[in-house]
Symmetry: D2
Subunit: 356 residues, 4 copies
Amino acid sequence: MSSTYGDKIKISIFGESHGNGIGVVIDGLPAGEKIDMDKVFVQMSRRAPGKDKTATPRKESDLPKVLSGMLDDTLTGAPLCAVIENTNTKSGDYSNLLSCPRPGHSDYTAFVKYNASNDIRGGGHFSGRLTAPIVFAGAICRQILEKNGIKIAAHINSIGTVKDKQFDPTNIDIKLIERLNTSSFALIDESAEEDMRNQVEEARMNLDSIGGTVECAVTGIEVGIGEPMFDGVEGVIAKAVFGVPAIKGIEFGKGFELSQMRGSQSNDPFRYVEGKVVTETNNCGGILGGITNGMPVIFRAAVKPTPSISQKQKTVDLQKKENSELEVHGRHDPCIVPRAVPVIEAVTAIAIINLM
Amino acid sequence: MSSTYGDKIKISIFGESHGNGIGVVIDGLPAGEKIDMDKVFVQMSRRAPGKDKTATPRKESDLPKVLSGMLDDTLTGAPLCAVIENTNTKSGDYSNLLSCPRPGHSDYTAFVKYNASNDIRGGGHFSGRLTAPIVFAGAICRQILEKNGIKIAAHINSIGTVKDKQFDPTNIDIKLIERLNTSSFALIDESAEEDMRNQVEEARMNLDSIGGTVECAVTGIEVGIGEPMFDGVEGVIAKAVFGVPAIKGIEFGKGFELSQMRGSQSNDPFRYVEGKVVTETNNCGGILGGITNGMPVIFRAAVKPTPSISQKQKTVDLQKKENSELEVHGRHDPCIVPRAVPVIEAVTAIAIINLM
Amino acid sequence: MSSTYGDKIKISIFGESHGNGIGVVIDGLPAGEKIDMDKVFVQMSRRAPGKDKTATPRKESDLPKVLSGMLDDTLTGAPLCAVIENTNTKSGDYSNLLSCPRPGHSDYTAFVKYNASNDIRGGGHFSGRLTAPIVFAGAICRQILEKNGIKIAAHINSIGTVKDKQFDPTNIDIKLIERLNTSSFALIDESAEEDMRNQVEEARMNLDSIGGTVECAVTGIEVGIGEPMFDGVEGVIAKAVFGVPAIKGIEFGKGFELSQMRGSQSNDPFRYVEGKVVTETNNCGGILGGITNGMPVIFRAAVKPTPSISQKQKTVDLQKKENSELEVHGRHDPCIVPRAVPVIEAVTAIAIINLM
Amino acid sequence: MSSTYGDKIKISIFGESHGNGIGVVIDGLPAGEKIDMDKVFVQMSRRAPGKDKTATPRKESDLPKVLSGMLDDTLTGAPLCAVIENTNTKSGDYSNLLSCPRPGHSDYTAFVKYNASNDIRGGGHFSGRLTAPIVFAGAICRQILEKNGIKIAAHINSIGTVKDKQFDPTNIDIKLIERLNTSSFALIDESAEEDMRNQVEEARMNLDSIGGTVECAVTGIEVGIGEPMFDGVEGVIAKAVFGVPAIKGIEFGKGFELSQMRGSQSNDPFRYVEGKVVTETNNCGGILGGITNGMPVIFRAAVKPTPSISQKQKTVDLQKKENSELEVHGRHDPCIVPRAVPVIEAVTAIAIINLM
């Protein structure tokens, strides 16, 4: 296993859905930084389940206990460990999964990889619940980034076929960022919410689930961040974002649309504006040669539909070695896109701080 | 800088477009493996420029000299270093780039990052020429993978608006793989070639360039490869693929299409076929929870149009600190997608061998 | 900070002496291994303070709580997190250390490094107490090593001027290993204990402390472990051993004695014994070219005297920026060598498992 | 294999004694630094063999060719690759080593590790010749360190039983450093040279070899460098130093002598001198809690006698699987300590720059 990330600020995530506790160790944080724990809890609350019909009714008490690395809200420089104890778990719901892996989940691959010894209850270490300590770690990192003028905001770019507006890639309003940063159904154009909720509700009524996309922007990042080739900004962010369950695609700037463009369209012209070099367009998503060019870094990630659905599904019985069927009756989100938004922001913060 | 990749088989790329030489050190290769150097040169030849009108007329003598790590075509276990000497370079073509960065290139970001000390001639360390040692390293790695039954093949998925057929994600023909592996214009449906070449030619006639997509498949990979979270197969491959210049997006399985699907459609049902667990569909691209499920690993990457175009473009003059214009008169590919195919295969081989 | 070790089995230590808790995350453990927790507690008990006059009278409840990675004493393959909560701490004892650093401690260097924000109480993250989670991690690792036939034993090689016998470097008795492995005052020749305790007691009566050396042996390790140059066995073990507070030297095989020998004496002759290649002597400590040769790996580490002594000492007052004096009245070991023995064994286990 | 070091400035060494070439890739160097190549060659010349009777008469043309990363003596920021071509090699001398491993060498361990595929001629990748690119890399790093006020000097601390004076650990004269830095038989007290050469000559006449120790000091290093636990200064330097062939021990400050001292003797009292915190003694070798305290960092390393001796030695025949004898008739140094001095300085420079 390797649930770790980063070489400057090292994040090590631990825990299993129905174990004694989950959490994170963050090694390499700068000593002396004041952390506003209320702001950390705002981010964790955005990710927490149970707020509305798009999310699972399961309640979590997700507030972490900080064991080390912080004294009176100030970072000591020592590794910070935060633990969230597991309290509300119902293992019974998952009992027959041991032999019949859920389609779209890691049950089968983890069963083979871990010699049938992994804790399969609730997804074990692969549970979406493990994104709680990720959001915690990201919330610490982004406060440090903000002191350096860097802000990160994401929104629900689409759910099913319903699309939000996208960021203006050359000019992202600070007020918009602040609004998105505290929203639990983050949209640029809030009028899209009703249609989105309708698609989610329709899926839920059909015992089904639905996917979507998240768009994320990083503003205030200076020119020259990132390394050529394999430690370029795209690769470093992608590795972090694919660490989030259910993400199956990522594109920077115009992304896949670039494949149908001409160079004369896609090249972003350089201009001096107020003595500063900017680009007139931002098709490259703020990254040239793997290195930031001072424009907002922008990417979109594809979120697959929640694999847990209550419909009967075809699977295999690994004990009996025969085909089988399965109905999953746990408590699950018909759409995880809204809750994925703060998680994407968090891993982006972790990626960016490791690039600095 | 960090032009390195991998922790099991470490790849360290060096060189600048117009310097004395470029090459790679590969550390961690298994001792005793026989390498077929002819097969290595086939891959390098697929990437080499100058073969037809889609590529630059510049000739390269891209055959590398192996300095260490190999004795009579057998790996010694010591780090393998291969060097390609630079012979045919015309620095004069690039002289005014020092003050006027080319749009879409790394000139500006590298200028700021490296304090104006980077070797800007021909893109320096950011040149597409640096993909030659990547292909060399990949060709070594894929021979080792092939002995373990793993094959990698990619094709031109699209150029501009012209699309090739895609891989059958549940069943990839071995003959198709072999054909693609030696093709310099790799297509599943070869009838698409003419339309693709027409779009490239049209761009070229307009002093323009054009983008596309590459699809890549890995077959024969066993169940259980990859780690949860940040070292999942998606993240590890993505980090390698974004190391290739001009790649701006990647998606696994159905990728962005999943965002408009329902869980009942996207979940791949498990079935027993001939005593082996398979999935009926392969929307997840062979990866569940970041871990291989035994089906082909499939992804697509977006390639932006070559930024070097001969049209006049808007840029800035960094010396005079004013707006300026630029015409780039070097020798450039109007479309790099065909040559990107073996490079994508190479970085995939490097990524996969590091997951094993 | 970087309180992490290893790239195969990653150890991440966290905690501060007087914080809420200390512990460790171990990432990369093999799924399915049964762990005998009683044996783990034996090792932790060997390190625990308060057993006799060589150790501090402070009591610790050092039994860790496993939060993740283990289900019914079997490793799940997910990261294992173990936490020891802090219960018995007296912060008052350390209050004036904030301005007056203790000689021989990290107070001054940590004060500068962490901008005066580190948790200085009881040494903070630099406290010897942090060796408790190290011993826990080592105890897990050594059980896995033992299943592969590898055993690790250390003993008090010397305290002050009193020396124990040393290991027979070519033939280490399994019964000796077992006896040492459960001893809290581990000696090959137990008759040395009285003289050693007398030197410790003499130091204690003089409000002073005393150093010593620890010798450690690894048996059953196969030929060919370790990498050339910077990941040789010596370097990998040394990096782990210098992670233990108070260690200031390490030597392998004959070590510094080799500097006065001739090649004809120091070279270990190869011989076949029962069809197996062995060496007649083992001056190289089982390592040639950084790689194990099948003989026991043997090294000695130098332990400096406990820097905490109750005598008046010269120091500076960092607030007043003037010379000052200091008496340290906490509870401290006059000799930490006996407790260092299981810690050295633990880091050696962690190092060896990362070499495999 | 893993002949790499560092995570900030990554060093990757390649080559085999009798292959086509040896060299190094250095990734992460700062762009824009001017390098004085004459100074680099001075260091390489100090390590080069053939200068006097302590060294092998074999001539090497050790001047490296820089392939990348440097333009007109200025670092470009791209990975720097330097290659030394092999010209003067006599493979015939080593032919029977394939079946009969030389005692004290890596022949046997490498034979097993690399499945008999390693290039055994002249030690292959384990040859002392590979220290040439290490010295090159160190010479680059130390020029960068010197611009930050950090100087590194080593001397022959002892050969056999003859000892040089040691550094004054609290005050190292700049003139002494400069003298040592250009000396090929580096001594603090030059009157020791004759006795040392006599011991070497005596060993040589007896077809034998002799060991010694090297002492190294780092001055001008600021307070607060190094990390707690496993990335402490001792561990990081030790890992680099054990990368040098023939090193079997390392001790910092008073090292093993501390084991016989009392805390009241070994603790270094803090004092203010000219407004700066210093210590009156420097028994800790400038390192407290793994972190520099502003005093010189001082360590000693034990060098075993050259394993290549011309006497008949007992070994095994791995082909015939029986005991055998061996006489080594290559060209070898009876004492490598003088040539080890610049190598120790080089790895120390590489270690220190990775700690900054």
